[in-house]
């Protein structure tokens, strides 16, 4: 399975990247544990994430953003940018943003679909993406109270509060 990652078709990329190159470029040292099959995982500080995603796209052909996943880890929110490209290696760049100041840079100009993913995360988890042109409500209904983020672990609906739906019963 290991070498399957190199079997890509050369879609869009000028050169074939090997998984070792990616690993060396994004992780500290040759830690074998960060490679599972064709996946490379790396942790990045919030300040550098924009640069790293841009570098992955420019130098290594990671032109497809699979997903931005977000997890509430308690003290921090972990954002993971899952990227792939013509070589079909999956690079997962993890960023921890503090709960008190949940801010991360927006990627909408590097990967256009990120605009949508970020709005979703903003709506459900309350992470603010700086530089996003239109970070508005996207998923929850119009009547949903502000500053309530249902995917946070400590969120519970308050019994008396109105969360949308119909006000008057027939």
């Amino acid at each position: 399975m290991e070498n399957h990652a190199g079997v890509g078709t050369g879609d869009g990329g000028n050169r074939m990247t090997t998984i070792q190159e990616v690993q060396q470029a994004f992780t500290t040292g040759s830690d074998a544990a960060c490679i599972v099959r064709n996946r490379v995982e790396a942790a990045v500080p919030p300040a550098r994430i924009r640069g790293e995603v841009a570098r992955a796209r420019k130098d290594f052909g990671f032109d497809h953003l699979i997903q931005i996943s977000v997890t509430d880890l308690g003290a921090t929110f972990q954002l993971i940018y899952h990227l792939t490209g013509p070589h079909r290696i999956v690079l997962s760049l993890a960023v921890d943003v503090p709960r008190e100041k949940p801010e991360a840079p927006s990627m909408h100009d590097i990967h256009p679909p990120a605009g949508i993913y970020e709005r979703q995360i903003h709506d459900l988890m309350g992470v603010v993406f700086t530089g996003h042109p239109n970070l508005k409500r996207i998923i929850l209904n119009e009547d949903w109270p502000q500053n309530e983020f249902p995917l946070r672990k400590d969120w519970k609906p308050e019994p008396d509060r109105y969360y949308g739906g119909v006000r008057e019963v027939l």
Binding site: H64, I66, T71, V90, D109, P113, L124, N134, L151
Partner: protein
């Protein structure tokens, strides 16, 4: 020419699912639009954190009724990866068979819906008639026509007996003949060509930029198919080809989907004929160890990915679902501008939107090429201007 704002949806005959577009049209040409697709948000991701793995699978199957097997498989695949258990080959084959049958039914459904969007109900009736054969196979194997309930962590819940195997194999030749008939039909039918060719075209560069997946990407010449690029289930052992096309328009998407229909029938036949003997489940532990996995799956609409995090209990710590439709939305918004009002349903339908799980909003400014540029305030101002214009004339 006078500008009108045409609201489409959330309840609209072209869309079987709720979605709302406010389309700003000049005469019959779209100059801008605003999509709101979050009517189906139910809060499944939160619920998945509160239920154990057994109970979560039926819930995830109901994220979307058309790709129910996709969501279930993607989830159990991820959990199995975290638990590091090997699923018996027979179970892998059965999962593949169901997945491909699901793809056939989904693509036939799409073909019918696309024909219905351009008002050709005869083709709609015919494809759905032939789709019933697939539904019968699925119902015989799984006990339900839509929500198959086949998956469980560690394998599948129902076996394919030799009788079922034979019954399924017997139905395939007729299906293949019908699919071949559609190819002929669509190549010759004049109104289909008029309505599909050159409509909602995405170039290869656009397809890459907007991060499209599935048939939408493949119709623009991007060879991106998780079944081959990151094989799961039995796909590595089955002979099949990735179908691509270079048209990029609705016609190209139709060609890709019909090609995939053929490939899917091929895969199903191979799997049914080469079904390995053995168990269909392995005993999975109750709790999953702490870990995380990105489970990618090629749903009928494209790449589906589940990010799963576990914390040592029998419940997932976090389940983050990215549906194929979501990945394709940005490209739809881009390909709609400057198209004809009448083409909206076709273009939207072309990506085969699966809105049940997708809940997004995009605002598009016609003056710029990049999406998500127009704010609500802008739009309000714009609407006021339009109103004033209308009042003046």
């Amino acid at each position: 020419m006078a500008r009108v704002i045409v609201p489409v949806g959330p309840q609209h005959p072209a869309l079987k699912e709720p979605v709302n577009f406010r389309i700003i049209a000049e005469g019959e040409t779209i100059v801008g639009l605003e999509l709101d697709v979050s009517y189906n948000h139910r809060g499944i991701e939160k619920a998945a954190e509160q239920r154990d793995f057994t109970r979560v699978v039926p819930l995830l199957e109901r994220i979307c009724g058309i790709c129910s097997h996709s969501h279930g498989t993607a989830f159990v695949k991820g959990i199995e990866e975290i638990m590091a258990i090997a699923v018996p080959p027979r179970a892998e084959y059965i999962r593949t068979i169901i997945a491909e049958l699901e793809r056939i039914h989904s693509h036939l459904l799409w073909l019918g819906v696309a024909a219905h969007e351009i008002g050709w109900n005869t083709l709609f009736m015919w494809t759905w008639r032939d789709r019933e054969a697939v539904q019968d196979i699925l119902e015989e194997i799984s006990g339900n026509r839509v929500n198959y309930g086949m998956n469980i962590v560690g394998g599948v819940r129902r076996d394919i007996t030799p009788e079922l195997n034979k019954a399924a194999l017997d139905r395939l030749p007729a299906l293949e003949a019908q699919i071949a008939g559609y190819v002929e039909l669509l190549k010759k039918q004049e109104t289909v060509l008029l309505r599909f060719q050159g409509v909602g075209r995405l170039t290869r560069e656009q397809a890459l930029t907007y991060g499209t997946v599935g048939p939408t990407a493949r119709s623009s010449g991007v060879e991106y198919d998780i079944r081959r690029d990151d094989p799961y289930c039995a796909y590595a052992e089955v002979p099949w080809d990735v179908v691509t096309d270079t048209h990029g328009d609705v016609y190209g998407k139709t060609i890709v989907r019909i090609g995939e229909l053929r490939e899917s029938v091929r895969i199903v036949r191979y799997c049914l004929e080469h079904l390995p003997e053995g168990d269909i489940t392995v005993k999975a532990p109750r709790n999953a160890p702490t870990g995380h996995a990105l489970s990618r799956y090629e749903a009928p609409r494209g790449e589906l990915s589940h990010y799963i995090r576990t914390n040592g209990t029998d419940k997932a710590d976090r389940l983050d679902v990215r549906t194929p439709t979501l990945a394709n939305w940005t490209s739809v918004a881009a390909s709609l501008v400057n198209q004809n009002l009448a083409d909206i349903p076709v273009i939207i339908a072309a990506i085969d939107p699966c809105l049940s799980c997708t809940s997004r909003l995009t605002v598009l400014n016609p003056q710029r090429t990049s999406s998500t540029e127009m704010t609500w305030e802008d739009l309000r101002r714009r609407a006021r201007e339009l109103n004033r214009e209308r009042e003046r004339c």
